[in-house]
């Protein structure tokens, strides 16, 4: 198929439909409105269901119902809406239901701004809702990668019976880029024998539930969840690297910020400074090993986490570097973003000090 020019949000919606998603429940919020709008236009044409819920709380609980009923289902929102969805997300994780949640992040805290940000790293990767659970978090850096990851996300969700979040940002949602809807490799998936589809009088009732009233049962449920999470950590870590070999400074950045960092790396190269990039594609499970391996290289003097936030992922970079090399942070928050020049200057300062 030839490449076409697609706006990020619309491409994400089309990718979901191509992956077989036929149920979408959402609520308007900038900068992701084109996703529900696209779904509202497309779903009736393909016998699917788009429903505008009364709130993000309702939308995610509709997702819970539809996922429990065995459907491929998605919702999307942006930061304040995701805060509201956290209730449903922990229930979905607790009841082990598959679904895809898109967050086109905007500036916070509170009503914040409507410009791109990465300040939802914590609420995506470190809980967000109550209890011990994990979301699988995928962070595309281009519209093409978003399209590929959204399609795969449904398979990942079904394989592990776990919610998957696509963590984009306002820039990703709003920009237009050439996209090719490639045939993504399908995983072999288990049948949804647990779904509530009616017993037909042929089996015991299925129950979709996250309540384990006995403490020992609830503990065991958590242990089982963590066995699954260990499996995901083993199988699903994804990371992209750029010029890490012989680098003096290694930037760590995800999503659209990683593209800005590449520009900084190229301008530093012109000045004879070797810099590289580690770009986590999965934010959970996090590519700690890639960071640790870089930390063990003699050439690497320091790491710098670059984010559109006040510094959230930097904590995971520190865990990966494990004290072997210093970890610095550079970022802009609230809808402002780091520039290649700002990043390069900060790197030179660090290297000057580190020499």
């Amino acid at each position: 198929m030839a490449k076409e020019l697609w706006k990020g949000n619309e491409a994400v919606a089309e990718a979901a439909i191509k992956a077989g998603c036929r149920f979408f429940f959402g609520y308007p919020i900038t900068p992701q409105n084109e996703i529900p709008e696209y779904m509202a236009m497309k779903m009736p044409q393909i016998d699917g269901c788009f429903l505008q819920a009364e709130s993000e709380v309702a939308a995610i609980n509709m997702v819970y119902g539809a996922a429990g009923a065995g459907a491929r289902v998605m919702t999307s929102s942006s930061s304040p809406g995701i805060s509201l969805k956290q209730e449903g997300i922990t229930y979905i994780a607790g009841a082990e239901l598959p679904c895809v949640i898109v967050n086109m992040v905007r500036g916070g805290p509170g009503l914040g701004s409507i410009q791109p940000a990465q300040s939802d790293y914590f609420q995506a990767c470190k809980g967000g809702g109550h209890g011990d659970y994990r979301l699988i978090v995928l962070a595309p850096a281009s519209v093409q990668e978003a399209v590929d990851l959204v399609q795969e996300a449904f398979d990942i969700a079904d394989q592990y019976r776990n919610p998957v979040m696509i963590l984009g940002d306002g820039m990703m949602g709003q920009m237009m880029e050439p996209v090719e809807f490639k045939e993504v490799k399908k995983r072999s998936l288990p049948e949804k024998t647990w779904a509530t589809v009616g017993t037909k009088g042929k089996r015991k009732p299925n129950v979709v539930n996250s309540l384990y009233i006995d403490a020992a049962d609830c503990h065991n449920h958590n242990v089982d969840l963590f066995k699954k999470y260990a499996e995901i950590e083993k199988n699903e870590v994804r990371v992209d690297t750029y010029n890490v070999e012989n680098a003096e400074i290694v930037f760590v950045a995800y999503g659209t910020t990683a593209r800005i960092v590449k520009n900084a790396i190229n301008s530093l190269a012109k000045e004879g400074i070797k810099a590289g990039l580690i770009r986590p594609v999965t934010l959970w499970p996090y590519p700690y090993k890639a960071i640790e391996e870089a930390a063990e290289k003699a050439s690497v003097k320091a790491f710098m986490s670059v984010e559109m936030s006040m510094g959230q992922m930097v904590e995971d970079v520190k865990l990966g570097a494990n004290g072997k090399k210093p970890v610095y942070f550079y970022g802009k928050a609230g809808g402002a973003f780091p520039t290649p020049k700002g990043i390069a200057e900060e790197a030179k300062k660090i290297l000057g000090g580190a020499k």
């Binding site: 149920f23 429903l51 309702a58 609980n61 539809a66 009923a69 017993t199 037909k200 979709v208």
Partner: protein, 248 residues
Amino acid sequence: MAVVFEKTRGLAEKPFHYCPGCTHGIIHRLVAESLDELNLIDDAIGVAPVGCAVFAYDYFNCDMQEAAHGRAPATATGIKRVHPKSAVFTYQGDGDLASIGAAEIVHAAMRGEKITTIFVNNAIYGMTGGQMAPTTLVGQKATTAPYGRDENHAGMPLRISEMLATIPKAVFVERVSVHDVKHIIQAKKAIKKAFQTQMEGKGFSLVEVVSTCPTNWGKTPIEALKWLQENMIPYYPLGNFRNTEEVK
């Protein structure tokens, strides 16, 4: 020997955990019998609330989902949109439906979701130990209204059936009680009618059951039934508030 009475197929084998004299058990049986008699149980998908009826998912002999507190109508919406031919129902208490889940029930009714809601109004938060509900009567004591509900402080109790009956697509709304045999029979008729309305695809249906909580009312089961008749029914009058057929 002729069978005069047997347990309905609509209920699973699990014994109820409800307090002695609690009307949740009677209401479960009426819902289960209705689903069985209408031949809906094998396709039915129910949604349990957060409240004393949380374990409803173990009691009904059909597929069930346990929803977050108050969100049952949203969860049921998701289910019904996936399985439009199944009988989908929510079973909710008054804290669940009238307080934390007020938005979800109003909008499910507004959309005319083809689901049936069984709304158990016992004027109290039973499960958490007797706190005030939006339906607690003026002057009624609750652990968070130790001097009795003061209307100038906590407002007036919500009449959910009357409120929902103003919504065009809430096509069947009836308030019933289960305090004696006559009323139990009427309640069952209403519940059956609500499910029939759903299966005919007409819109949203709700049956409010005025109910007792002897434990948190601090009464014996008999006293509780008496208190219900003397105090609840005058404020929550029984009767049909919406019935599509009568409108026609």
